[in-house]
Structure formats: C-alpha cells, structure tokens
C-alpha cells in the first residue's frame, strides 16, 4: 500500500530517495540536522571536508552512512551497524556488571593520549579507516581501562563522531521537520514544539476531505503539516492579512507530490471576509488587489526558485536557513509548487459552506483580533485551535469568546513533554528538556441565531 496516491506515470516509492527529492540528514546522532535536496552535484560539509551526496540517491530512507577515507578523498558509504550479538561491549543488552571502577585514578593532565595529531594524519594518509583510528586512540589511551563501562562507551562514541562521522538519511515528515526547526531555529516557527503541533492538528480535527483555514506565520510549517494530513484531498487555505502572503518556505521540505500541492491555496483574509453580494465596483477593486497579489506571488516564487538554485548549485544543502542569495547557475530541484492563489469559485465555495477547521499560528499577533474575523468563516460546530507562544493573549481571547458566546468547549492548555534515557540500571528523565512548547486555545464554534451568514 503506497502512502500517497501515485502520480501519473510510474509509481514512486516514497520510502526510497530519488534525484531531486528533499531529505533530512541527521549527522552524528542528532548533533546536526541538515535539509538537502538530492542531486548529482549536491554536497554536504562535515568538519572541513566536503562530501558528495550522490551515494544517497536511490537508497531507502533510514539508511545510515559513514565517512570512509577513499584513495583520493573521503566519501560517504552505506553502513550497516553491527547487531546486538557482536556488540555486547556497549552494554546494550547485558545487565550492567558490578561496577568496581570509578574515576578516582583519572587525572586531567592532558597526557592520557599518546597519539599525536601528526600520528593520526599519518594513519589517514596510509588509508586507515575511521574505525581503525578510533581503535588506535583507545589502544593508546592510558586511562581507557580505568574508566567505567559507561564512560568507555561515551569515549568511544565521542571519538567515532570525530573520526568516523555518520549520516542518517531521514524522510522529512512534519514530525522531523518541526523537531529540526525547534532544535535549531525555534524562533522561526514561533517556538512551536512537535507535541504542540500534533495537538493543533487533532484539536482542529484535521482529516481527509476537510477544508482547513490556516493562518500560518510560522514559515509554512502548520500549512505543510495540515496538507500532509489531507493527503491530496480537501483543501488548505493559507490566509494572510494585508496584501502579501506570508512566507511558507518550509513546505518545500515535505516532498509533496502534485496532488498534495494543488490542495494548498492562498487567499487574503480580506477576500475571505468580503460580503458575498458585493457590488460590481467592489469586485473590480478586489480584482485590482488580486493582480497585485499575483505579482507578489510571482516575486515569492522567484525567490523560492533562487533559493533552490542556491541549494543545489552551491552544495545542495541548507542548514534550515533559507537564504535568498542569488546564484545563476546550477540545476533547480524540481519541486511542485504549493500555494497557488485560490480561484474565485473555490473562495465562493468556502464562503458558502464554511471551513471545517481553523488553525491559527501567529505567534506575534493578538489572538483575539484574528479570531474575531476568522471564526465566522468556520462552519457551525467546527473545531478550532489557536497557538501562541505566550499565555496571556490566549487567556484574553478565551475570555472574550466566552463573553461573546461565540464558542463552546473552550480549553486553554499547554503540553508538557519529557524524554527519558532508558538503559540497564540507568533509566531516568533526560537531564535537559524543553521548558515550553507554547500554548493552545481550542474550542468549537457555536451556532447562535445572531451569527451572520
């Protein structure tokens, strides 16, 4: 069973990479996360070396690669990690032995390692693999045997990351995209943590065939997550205030096919709120605005494609930073375009039927001002979810919704997420955790006889 409707032509296996597809690269077990567009010319920089991403094309997602020192230059090669049986020394499966060692004999005098940088360089020149260097470092460490099993493991891992870095090939989903941004550029997504995003989608009842109104000022993350759930059905209306659509560069990380992209439409809040039976004069005015908008749309798409050029021509890799630098050469990554301007008849249908869900993620806007305008566009009994990085605007919004009797089932909540380290005899919550993933106000639109339309 394939996960997306096959496009016309040969069926694309979404679990295998192909040329031009967007991937998430996890370098050294989460130390660095990089989005890349796979093409013959795309490269990845680790430390001071550059690696071609060519070997990653056609591989199943989830494959692991390790840096190997080649004859001429190092390259990325598929790596199958050893299974449990021949890897017992890392303490994975066996119960921790009675540990008699401790750190009383370890002195920090920088003399424990007898191999010098020159020695290691020499080994490299002779073609030693990363793993061989790590073993040599361990053999030449005066203190390794005195370390506890746990810290031996840590030592080995640290050296492996440096001398034999690993790259994990990840399929971009809203989960991994949100996590990557939250880790690296939380401000770009308004500090929206993955669990909060998941709650927005459920609380707004995003499901196939629904028409979802989204006010997305978090770079397109919410729009993309909604489109992923719709799977090429229904519609996402990415609404914006004023004349310029909000950037949604993140949506390109999703690898959406045409079917999904077609369902992502843009429309200004003005056009959505305009009274249906407007005079012809008003219509023409709107059309003027539309032409201007489509121009600005073109501008956006231009900058989008240059970003892609930049991605593939320079090194095919973006450390999540969409830079709009101009670069004239190189192949573009062919990604179908999401976010066309909503056609008139679609807007009309939205107005007649109402949206079936509303999600607002505008972390710098006043929630109540937005909700006042957007909630009437929602059909009766439809659920909504509003995200904010601060509690207060949502509290005020909730209070006003109650006073105006616009909604029922109102709930103001904050998710709390804690990860655990689970190891034999060493299980405990992780030492560091995210303090806040933001706040969510959710509810259901009530019907009142005084409601308009």
């Amino acid at each position: 069973m394939s996960e997306n409707k096959p496009e016309s032509g040969p069926t694309v296996n979404p679990r295998v990479t192909r040329e031009g597809c967007s991937v998430l690269l996890d370098i050294n077990d989460g130390d660095r996360l990089v989005f890349a567009c796979l093409s013959a010319g795309s490269t990845l920089k680790i430390g001071n070396k550059t690696f071609s991403l060519q070997p990653l094309i056609g591989c199943p997602f989830g494959s692991l690669f390790q840096v190997e020192s080649g004859k001429e230059k190092p390259y990325l090669s598929r790596f199958i990690p050893p299974t449990e049986e021949n890897n017992v020394q890392d303490g994975g499966g066996c119960q921790l032995q009675e540990e008699s060692r401790d750190n009383r004999a370890i002195i920090d005098n920088n003399q424990a390692q007898s191999l010098t940088g020159d020695d290691i360089d020499a080994m490299r020149r002779q073609g030693a693999t990363g793993n061989e260097i790590v073993e040599a470092l361990i053999a030449n460490s005066a203190t390794f045997d005195k370390k506890t099993q746990f810290s031996q493991e840590k030592y080995r891992l640290k050296k492996q990351k440096k001398y034999a870095p690993r790259v994990l090939l990840r399929r971009p989903f809203s989960r991994s995209i949100c996590e990557a941004y939250f880790k690296k550029y939380p401000a770009r997504i308004g500090f929206l943590r993955v669990d909060a995003l998941s709650l927005l989608l459920s609380m707004a009842n995003v499901s196939a065939n629904s028409d979802v109104l989204v006010l997305d000022m978090v770079g397109g993350l919410v729009t993309g997550a909604v489109a992923e759930r719709l799977g090429g059905t229904g519609s996402v209306c990415n609404a914006y205030l004023g004349g310029t659509p909000y950037p949604m560069e993140i949506i390109r990380m999703f690898n959406f096919n045409n079917e999904v992209c077609k369902r992502v439409l843009r429309c200004s809040v003005n056009d959505l709120c305009a009274v249906q039976n407007e005079t012809s004069e008003q219509v023409s005015q709107h059309e003027d605005v539309c032409t201007m908008e489509s121009q600005s749309d073109e501008k956006t798409s231009l900058s989008v494609s240059t970003e892609e050029v930049h991605l593939s021509s320079k090194n095919g890799v973006s450390d999540l930073v969409p830079e709009n630098e101009l670069s004239t050469t190189g192949k573009t990554c062919k990604a179908p375009k999401a976010g066309e301007k909503a056609p008139k008849e679609v807007i009309q249908s939205w107005k007649e039927n109402g949206f079936s869900s509303l999600i607002i993620a505008a972390p710098e806007q006043d929630a109540w001002i937005l909700v006042k305008d957007l909630l009437p566009l929602l059909t009766y009994s439809a659920p909504f979810a509003i995200y904010h990085q601060y509690l207060q605007p949502l509290a005020t919004c909730m209070h006003n919704l109650q006073l105006e009797k616009m909604a029922i089932g109102l709930q103001l909540s904050e998710p709390w997420l804690r990860e655990y380290q689970v190891l034999p005899s060493r299980t405990h919550p992780c030492m560091q955790m995210s303090g806040s993933g933001g706040y969510i106000l959710s509810g259901t639109r009530a019907y009142s006889n005084t409601s308009q339309s």
Partner: protein
C-alpha cells in the same frame, strides 16, 4: 464522523438529520453521544428534549427542553468521541493520541496495526489519520470487547477504515498476512516485549513502532528487546496542563515612596506628582492559572524504527 463523502461533511448548508450521531454538550465535562431518532427523546437534569426539535437545525445549535434548559448539539469528532465513549478499559487521551499519530508518522494511505483495541479511543484517531486510502487493523483478545468496538466503529461511521480482530497478540503475534506490510505498529499490552518480534516482522523497513506502558519496568524490558532490530529508540512522557481563565479585579496596594510596605490611608496627592489617575479604581484584568487538579501520569510512550538492512 469522518468526512468520507460530501454528504456527511458539516457545512453551513448541512443540518441535523434523522439518524445522525450528535454529541450532546451540557458542559465541557458533561457530554453524551446520541443517535438522532425522530420519535425519541433525551432526558437529563435539564428536562426532556424531543429529537424532532433537533432535526433541521444546524450542528452547533443550542436546543431547549420542555423546562427551558438547554444543551448544544455538536458534530462528532474523534476528540469528542474520546470524551463520550463508554470505557471498557483505561483509554488514551488527546495528548498521548496526538503525539502517537505524529511520531509514528501516520499519514493518509498508511497501514496501521494496533493491539489491544481496548475502548477504541486511539483507533478512532488512527482511522482519521489513515483515511481515505489507508486501513487500521486492530486486535484484542477479549471477544466481547472486540464486538463492542466493532459496534462503536459502525456507529461512528468509520467501519470501512477499521477491521477489528480477536487475537492474543502477545501469545500468537500478528497474523502473517501483514508481514512486511505495516507502516506503523502500536502496542498497548501488559507485556509488550512478547509482541515486539512479531511487530518487527510486520513492519516495512524504516517503519515505526510505539509501545504505550504505564510502568517504567515495562519500558525497561521493551527497550531491551527493541535494541536488537530497531533504531531511534526514544521514550517520552506527555501531559497536558490546562489553565483556568477569569477576570479579576486586582487591589492596587499603594506602596510608599519610601521602602515601607504598609498601606497608608489614602492621601490626596499633589496633581503635580506622577500620573496616578485611574489607579484608584482597580482595573479588571484577565488572568490564567493552571487548573488545581490535573492528571499526573498516563503512560510512557516508547518509539522505535525498524532498522534498514
């Protein structure tokens, strides 16, 4: 419940009909699922409600009883269903459910295996996530419970997306017919480690698994078993903290310019001093505080991904 076709889709033009499932909303913590039936009535502490009064009204309407009491009639969603379903077992709630769906990367078209079915709270959300092309196969070893779940899925209109099987997954594993076909597997079992080898065989390469366990000892053993064929093994705990919001008139205690914290009798200030006009009338402010009583633990969620060979 799900928008399987346009006739079931809620819209400004879709009113309540005979035979619809509605969620009767009294308060945020008092709701009930009711099948609308022309000649039927609903009786609660607010009085008697005639279903015939409901037909033709939009979803989300306020309807009145013979005594003038009122309730709201809502279109069912998986979230509302979780709050109204009959508890045959402990169920998963919205925070865990949402996180599981997102972390398992369940999208339309996926094939999901679940055990046990329990009360079908999570199953309903899985069905929403895989629709319209995917399918959920859910298994419970309790025959009666499986039958009740089947009835519920008929009632909520998701039975085309969900198949309920009676099977002891811990003892017998998942049926071989799903071998290598599952995108995701979800386990809510007392001894999940017994089912993990079978789950592994069902999963596609790079497929995702989640095990929900209330106790850390279960997590410990599951993780030990997972380490052989899975990668990316991560354990989480998720809770939802809710806030109470109210408007509050704060007493503005005047603090002396000196360091005294006492509140002196109000004196007339010289108009030349800093603008204090309006300070005397304490202004109402909307404030939020965490709800006093809250859920402290539901279960640990352990996720893993099948290794790619």
């Amino acid at each position: 419940m799900l928008l399987m076709d346009s006739s079931t889709k809620i819209s400004f033009n879709r009113c309540i009909r005979d035979g619809d499932l509605v969620v009767v909303y009294e308060r945020h913590d008092t709701m009930k699922a009711v099948k609308v039936c022309e000649n039927s009535v609903l009786q609660n502490r607010f009085g008697v409600f005639k279903h015939s009064d409901w037909i033709g009204k939009p979803f989300g309407s306020k309807v009145f009883s013979n005594k003038g009491g009122f309730v709201y009639l809502l279109a069912p969603t998986p979230e509302l269903w979780t709050l109204v379903l009959s508890h045959r077992t402990q169920i998963l709630y919205i925070a865990d459910i949402s996180f599981v769906i997102m972390y398992l990367e369940v999208v339309p078209g996926c094939l999901v295996l679940e055990s046990g079915t329990g009360s079908g709270s999570l199953t309903t959300s899985f069905a929403r996530a895989v629709s319209p092309m995917g399918h959920v196969y859910t298994f419970d070893f309790h025959e009666q419970r499986a039958a009740s779940a089947r009835e519920d899925f008929e009632r909520t209109g998701i039975s085309t997306l969900v198949t309920v099987g009676v099977r002891d997954i811990q003892g017998d594993g998942f049926p071989d017919q799903f071998s290598g076909l599952a995108d995701s597997v979800f386990l809510d079992l007392p001894q999940p480690w017994l089912a993990i080898p079978s789950a592994r065989n069902m999963l596609k390469q790079d497929g995702t698994l989640c095990s929900f366990s209330p106790c850390i000892e279960q997590v410990q053993r599951s993780c030990e078993t997972l380490r052989s064929d899975f990668t990316d093994i991560r354990t989480f705990e998720i809770l939802l903290r809710t806030y109470e919001v109210r408007e509050w008139k704060m007493d503005h205690l005047k603090v002396n310019d000196g360091n005294s914290t006492a509140c002196p009798p109000r004196k007339r200030r010289q108009p030349s001093s800093e603008a204090n006009v309006g300070d005397n009338a304490s202004s109402p402010a909307v404030m939020a505080r965490p709800s006093a009583e809250t859920r402290g633990h539901t279960g640990y969620l352990t996720f893993a991904r099948k290794c790619v060979s």
